[in-house]
Symmetry: C2
Subunit: 210 residues, 2 copies
Amino acid sequence: MAAWGQRLAGVRGVLLDVSGVLFDGAEGSGVPIAGSVEAVARLKRSRLKVRFCTNESQKSLGDLVRLLQQLGFDISEGEVTAPAPATCLILKERGLRPYLLIHDGIRSEFDQIDTSNPNCVVIADAGESFSYQNMNKAFQVLMELENPVLISLGKGRYYKETSGLMLDVGAYVKALEYACGIEAEVVGKPSPEYFKSALQEMGLEAHQFV
Amino acid sequence: MAAWGQRLAGVRGVLLDVSGVLFDGAEGSGVPIAGSVEAVARLKRSRLKVRFCTNESQKSLGDLVRLLQQLGFDISEGEVTAPAPATCLILKERGLRPYLLIHDGIRSEFDQIDTSNPNCVVIADAGESFSYQNMNKAFQVLMELENPVLISLGKGRYYKETSGLMLDVGAYVKALEYACGIEAEVVGKPSPEYFKSALQEMGLEAHQFV
């Protein structure tokens, strides 16, 4: 306990994972993990800053927060770092117009993004939308670019649903990387830039959070 | 010419590629490459053994040979090394029952193969059959095996059709390799075993062919 006390002495913030830590979910629903609703409530009553950091890429931020609120969590959109909004910032900053190989559930996040005449590809856990036709379109867009840019929301190998293991976006990223001879830029955990952006939003340095 | 003469002195056989060398094809059709019909005819009139070696995996061997015959080539099924029949030999030898992630055009090649209760995955250029559902099924089969076996018919990154560049099987192989943490066994060019099997069928050693 002393060691923990020392380690936590300078801590001013807590970054919380969401799916698999706060709740276990199937598509569109979920159950809170035992004790997690009260744990979040206690953290928020403490002197610590609290922020949520997720790789969720099948639900919009609004839908995710509404689900968590329904499950009893004290949470608002402004407290969550999610890959789709983070990607939109990058696209705007760099003048990128994506071909979107994404799940319909997060398409609304990109409503304000110009997708005409694409000069990059954004890939996320698209589920059933990972058709050959859509993958081939993404491949063709990349092959026509002088400097192909592939931005990936996360790089997970697979995840678990009640129906079994499911292929995640990372597998399809590897497919495009191999076909085009390129390397994707990952927005989402475990990318250090992604954690850094979450900390910036808390106004903290790396040594001040757990 | 002297150098070529020396190099060819011990040559007793010629191994010919098919697609892109004998003919350029779109789905289901093709045109002979200039001079190739006559070149094959001349080789067959020479003292050299001639064999054809293809990675074709969207057409059955019978359909491929019929197409080549229609284009004017002197060719028969017994003169062609193709990955689907080679794979069937491997499956039988090793008692493997595949989940087939393949194009409908070559499904008939596997008619004599037991596909119940799969203990391996065979992947080929499946085209539109590379749906998320089919990829996920292949992934789940592999993840449930103690020693996952993934056999790939070729490992091409992409190929050219009249409509443009098309993602090839290699990209989808990389996806499954990454998701499952395994490495595929390649049946087809450029696998040395594949060339060796073509040579065995000619009764030649590696130094006796070009």
